[in-house]
């Protein structure tokens, strides 16, 4: 039990505070003004004149009783084993944000993410202390971003498709999940679900046709996309088998090949050509081939290794493939295995044109929900100083004072 920076290790003893309260109540009753008859007031008037201190007084509780009550109070507090806890111990909270495309759909003029952040902002304003830390967890900040306010980057729609956070990893008391809806609520973590109504719109692409969902049905809109919407980039420096395969795949998907890299591309296949080359055998999905590759690639945010030989040589991320394969001999084995293997990789990474959001995300997300983080991780161990000894000493002094007052008055 903690109260005003004081933690009680045995708070049950605080019930003893009823004793001094009862003593004071009884004392006040006992000390009430009594009406007494006397034969004449003359002597008392003389006493009043001689000693103004004998005039009526406000105090109703005898001093000895007040001292005793104070001693009992202090004794009860001492038995409760109080400790002074440094109130300034900073705390840290982890904020896990769902940045999938559905979070950026607008509902009532604001995105679902904005809606989900609203209770969080109120919580920050009222509950977060100056010394506390908020750590934002996102692909963009693998180590976490420490910022007291919502990072502006979060509010911008990510170009690439984002995988859902690893919620289970962050089901802890100091974490807060932020999404539109949770199929399974966290056990320990807090959460903020924006909820929200369905947002009809584009849910897919087939060639140049767009698939729209009107809330009930899916409608195909032919020639909805032009070349400008469907650009892809295939690095011309790629070895022949890979370049040809990627270009064939892009053509089959209806993409438009671009000669230079642009931000709006739905897919890019790039060669990292720097560093010393080496020759070795590559193999995956039933194909193998001799290759000349550069140094091992270093994954960046969101990238995963797809092919490795003495280190990653193909890194994949939504909308992007990077490779260090500078030359590739014709693959051995089934030629189809080579094409299927790479084709599936490209299929899994291609992005959708702007505005295309999966129908699951466009559908209604239910009601908003909020639960604040239950606890925090103290960044420093708060210093605790036991106070019981001092309180016991004070109680003893007060008890002695009560005894002295009573003895003097006796």
């Amino acid at each position: 039990m903690e109260l005003l920076g004081i933690r009680f290790l045995a708070p049950g003893f605080l019930a003893l505070l009823a004793l001094p309260i009862a003593a004071l109540v009884l004392g006040a009753r006992g000390g009430a003004v009594r009406a007494l008859f006397t034969g004449t007031l003359e002597a008392w008037r003389a006493a009043e004149r001689a000693h103004p201190s004998a005039e009526r007084r406000k105090r109703r509780v005898p001093l000895a009783l007040a001292c005793l009550a104070l001693a009992l109070c202090l004794g009860a507090f001492a038995l409760a084993q109080p400790e002074h806890v440094r109130a300034e111990a900073p705390r840290r909270f982890l904020l896990i944000v769902d940045r999938s495309q559905g979070m950026y759909l607008t509902d009532g003029g604001r995105t679902r993410l904005e809606h989900a952040l609203e209770p969080l902002r109120a919580w920050i304003a009222t509950q977060l202390r100056r010394q506390d830390e908020l750590v934002w967890i996102d692909e963009a900040w693998p180590e976490g971003l420490v910022e007291r306010d919502v990072p502006a980057e979060l509010l911008r729609t990510p170009r690439a498709r984002r995988a859902a956070p690893d919620w289970a990893r962050y089901d802890r008391a100091d974490a807060l999940w932020i999404s539109a809806r949770f199929d399974t609520l966290p056990v320990r973590a807090g959460y903020s679900a924006s909820g929200g109504a369905a947002v009809p719109g584009a849910i897919g692409r087939e060639g140049r046709a767009r698939l729209d969902w009107d809330g009930e049905r899916v409608v195909r809109v032919e020639d909805a996309y032009g070349e400008a919407d469907l650009g892809v980039f295939v690095d011309t420096r790629l070895p022949e088998p890979l370049r040809a395969l990627a270009q064939l795949w892009a053509g089959s998907e209806g993409f438009a090949l671009r000669a230079t890299r642009e931000e709006s591309e739905l897919f890019e296949f790039v060669l990292e050509s720097e560093g010393a080359a080496r020759e070795l055998e590559l193999a995956r999905d039933g194909w193998s081939a001799r290759a000349t590759i550069g140094p091992a690639l270093v994954p960046t945010v969101g990238e995963a290794s797809w092919l490795s030989a003495g280190g990653p040589c193909v890194l994949a991320a939504p909308g992007r493939v990077r490779t260090s394969i500078r030359a590739l001999e014709p693959p051995a084995g089934d030629p189809a295995a080579f094409a299927v293997s790479w084709g599936e990789l490209f299929d899994s990474l291609r992005l959708q044109p702007v505005g295309v959001v999966p129908i699951e995300a466009r559908s209604a997300q239910g009601a908003a929900a909020w639960r604040a983080p239950a606890a925090s991780v103290p960044l420093e161990q708060g210093e605790a100083r036991p106070l019981g000894g001092w309180l016991a000493l004070a109680a003893a002094v007060c008890a002695l004072g009560a005894w002295v007052v009573r003895a003097l008055r006796a």
Binding site: G31, A32, V33, R34, A35, L36, F37, T38, G39, T40, L41, E42, A43, W44, R45, A46, A47, E48, A50, H51, S53, A54, E55, R56, R57, R59, R60, P62, R409
Partner: protein
Amino acid sequence: MPPSARRPPLPCPTVRLDAGLRTRAQRFAARLSAARGRREGAARAGLSTGGVEFDHYRPYRPGDDLRALDWDVYARSDQPVVRVVRPEAGERWTILVDTSASMGVGPPGKLQRAAECALALAFSGLREEAELELVDLCTRERFRCARRAHAAALAGWLEARVARGTLNVAGLRTELAAARGSQRGFLLSDLGDTAEALDGALPRGVRWTWIGILAPLEIEPGELGAVRWLDAESGEELALEVDREALGAYARALEESRERLARATAPRGIALVRGSSALEFEHLLARALRA
């Protein structure tokens, strides 16, 4: 401070003289008479007024006052005898009983103790065959008796006294003067303002004994804390904290009052005794009659 609306009743306004008390009063009077008998030949202490007459002779016992020895008889019979005397017939005693409201303070009640004293004094007077007059100083009611047969009526009259009203100084002065012709006079009161009543001349020939009775609460109140003092007679109130300092000042004021009264009574030959109503009447009277 004006009197408040909620005023408690006086704690001890009435008198009760049960059979046990009457017996005690009779016994006290008998013991007093016997003690006087043992001091025959000497000037009678206590109740002696000086006006005595011969009763009988008895043999001399060692310790008897030689002045009481009848030398004529001794010369004639060669037997040492002493003269036993008794008060002169027709002696009159006046017993004034203060029944003002202040006598209702207690416990034990001051009026109760005053009535007990009056009863014992009256029984003693009857034993001495004195004519008694008891006076209620507030109602001015009187009760006269001269025979032991009146003892029951005497007790009844005392039991009918109730502490109420105020003691009028002029009335007290009148009653003191009215005791003219009495050989003994007793005043049973808390002696509040009685010094003022002595301004006028007291009748000559009356041997006065004033017995002041105060309640224990008036003599040693103790540290009572916050108290609303109620003047039993005037109804006035005074609220104050009765602590050590107040008690000291009160005791000094009380002592000054006592000394003032002593200075007023001593020159007039008044035997003055003050005691607590917590004392038994025998103790009070013994002190008073020794004074």
